[in-house]
Amino acid sequence: MVAYIIRRVIVGLLMLVAMSFIVFALFMKNPVDPAQFSCGKNCPPERIEETRQALGYDQPLLVQWGAFAKGVVVGREYPADEAMREANPELVTECAAPCLGYSQQLQMTVNDEIAEAAPVSISIALVAVTIWVVFGVLFGVLAAVFKGTLVDRGVVGATLSLYAFPTFFVGALLINFVAIKWGIFPAPGYVTIAEGGVGEWLLQLMLPGFTLAAVYMAGYVRMTRAFVLESMSEDYIRTAKSKGLKGGKVLFKHALRAALTPLVTMFGLDVAAVLGGAIITEDVFNYYGLGKLAVTANETYDLPTIVGLVLLLGALVIIANIVVDVLYAFIDPRVRVA
């Protein structure tokens, strides 16, 4: 087991290294000048040169990547150019480990940007995950139990329809009708727990949470339905039934337990993905989370922010992959051998 975990972690680390290198090569080593990008749309030539030095874009790719990797592990200082740091010591910015970069446009480290935006994304993710897991599994079990009936078709059909409408349309629909026109919910705007208490915070997260959950719900309903049906046809279910166990007990104690195990994999990866920011949901509702940060950074060509965000999200997914694999190996010992 320990060997398995170590092997998974090493593979994960290698993938992180590979990913960071690919991202660097993609964004820094291509025909488009990264310094001009990072400097913004209307940037005078001397500012471009300054940006190039400040962010270290004048260095070879490997040196840049090495400096970035070192920054992630032990932290670094900006501007990247040593002569520049010595000339203006008052402008030096400390970027503590794990340093993900420095945004020349916002004049702050990418870490600080992320620290500001992350609570919003995490809040939305919490609400969305709760909605889609509770209702996804509940509806999935319902559909499986009433297989072939109107309930089954209704549940599967409704969640598929919800999935078929683009996220930004669902968001706009909720904002314009549920919130503004009918006034069922207050006009969307993120409120921190410190500002409005838990109740207000939760209330303001319901609409974006539902919008984000709508994307995932259909998948969870389908998977739960399929897994429950599969496990209901297993021999041990027949055994449980024939020894006289009640239907409910068979379903919850035997079938559901086995059926939910494969969902762990899906769940882990999806959570990692939404923790890193729901780009469209946050943009529609105008909540300044990591997704909205990415949209803004892209509009202003803020390259360091984009690179930092992509790597953070990639790392989240890779870590989630490891956690899921290890968890799975605990649950199902057959995995370890393979």
Binding site: V11, M15, A18, M19, I22, L26, F27, N30, P31, V32, F37, L160, S161, Y163, A164, F165, P166, T167, F168, F169, A172, L173, I175, N176, F177, I180, K181, A226, L229, E230, A273, G276, G277, I279, I280, D283, G291, A294, V295, A297, N298, E299, Y301, I306, L309, V310, L313, G314, V317, I318, N321
Partner: protein, 337 residues
């Protein structure tokens, strides 16, 4: 389709999951080609037939649209500001629907709404279909090589697949847009227009979309390469290319067809998302995503115009999804469901 593959499919099908079929019926079935058998099963499924009809209609509409535009029947670009009131909102109910404009006109410009939606289907479908085919080709090549070679090649390619899956795809689609578009213009010499933007959407969707195909194909190849007919071909001294293309590939058409059908709705939604994020094909070229994005502004003042494009997209997405599910069941009768 090669003989051995047909035998294999026929064997699988005749021994399939219809224990109630009489011996006569089984005999009749055994004489039909696998495609015919799948078609027979698909025809029995009402939901699949309805969705197939919708899909055919949508594809027909998409193919016809450019001709109708050239003939002047559809006019997605002319402004009709005389049909708008002082606030540039269409006069009359249902976005000012009339005989000349069956679905009314677009707020702000007065362009014919039906023409915009209809022509938009064409652009969205071209992007989705090209991206789906590209993804499947990349995925199939990687999957076949991976499944056949085994060992280090397989391990490497599988890790590469995992790595691609770990990239935050929406963020990459967004972040790569400026660079990608510039690169495409440099490589192809195209101006920054709908074509270059469309190529960007297609390529970038395929780059992050081939992984599912690679995994499915690898799994299939792993099981197919142990079947008797492949062993027989090897023993008979068949060349590698014969085994790849004549023995294995025919058995992959069914899963690949299902994959393309299920990728279409995902890519139609993705195109809409790209348009919403301003990194897709830019207006005034109508795509379903562009039309829908534009309609968001008028949710309150012109609800009909707000709902129409969303309903069109949802209908197309649901139809392709249901058809994909139906095809999977029809082509693989031993599947879980």
């Amino acid at each position: 389709m090669s003989e051995s593959a047909t035998v294999f499919e026929g064997e699988e099908l005749s021994g399939g999951s219809t224990p109630s079929a009489s011996p006569e019926e089984a005999k009749k079935i055994a004489g039909k080609s696998p495609m015919k058998l799948a078609w027979m099963r698909l025809r029995k499924d009402k939901l699949s037939m309805v969705s197939l009809t919708v899909v055919i209609l949508v594809v027909l509409a998409a193919v016809l649209a450019p001709f109708l535009v050239r003939m002047g029947v559809l006019d997605p670009f002319s402004y009709n500001q005389d049909l708008l009131d002082a606030n540039t909102i269409p006069e009359g109910r249902f976005s000012g629907a009339s005989a000349a404009h069956p679905l009314g006109v677009e707020p702000g410009t007065g362009r014919d709404a039906l023409s915009r939606f209809w022509y938009g289907i064409t652009f969205s479908l071209i992007i989705a279909l090209t991206a789906a085919i590209l993804s499947v080709v990349i995925g199939a090549i990687i999957g076949i090589i991976s499944g056949f070679s085994g060992g280090w090649v397989d391990a490497g390619l599988s890790r590469f697949t995992d790595l691609t899956l770990s990239f935050p795809s929406t963020m990459m689609l967004l972040a790569l847009s400026a660079l990608g578009l510039e690169l495409i213009q440099m490589v192809t010499g195209l101006p920054n227009g709908p074509l270059a933007q469309g190529i960007y959407c297609t390529v970038v969707l395929a780059i992050f979309g081939w992984t599912s195909t690679a995994r499915v194909v690898r799994g299939q190849v792993l099981s197919i390469k142990q079947r008797e007919f492949v062993e027989a071909a090897i023993v008979l001294g068949a060349s590698k290319s014969r085994i790849y293309f004549k023995e294995i590939l025919p058995n992959l058409w069914a899963p690949l067809l299902v994959l393309v059908t299920l990728m279409m709705p995902a890519y139609i939604s993705a195109e809409a998302a790209l348009s919403y994020l301003q990194v897709g094909v830019k207006p005034p070229t109508p795509t379903l995503g562009n039309v829908l994005t534009d309609s968001l502004k008028y949710a309150q003042v012109d609800p009909f115009y707000f709902f129409m494009p969303a309903i069109i997209i949802a209908t197309i997405v649901i139809s392709f999804n249901l058809l994909g599910d139906g095809l999977r069941d029809a082509l693989d009768p031993k599947g879980d469901r």
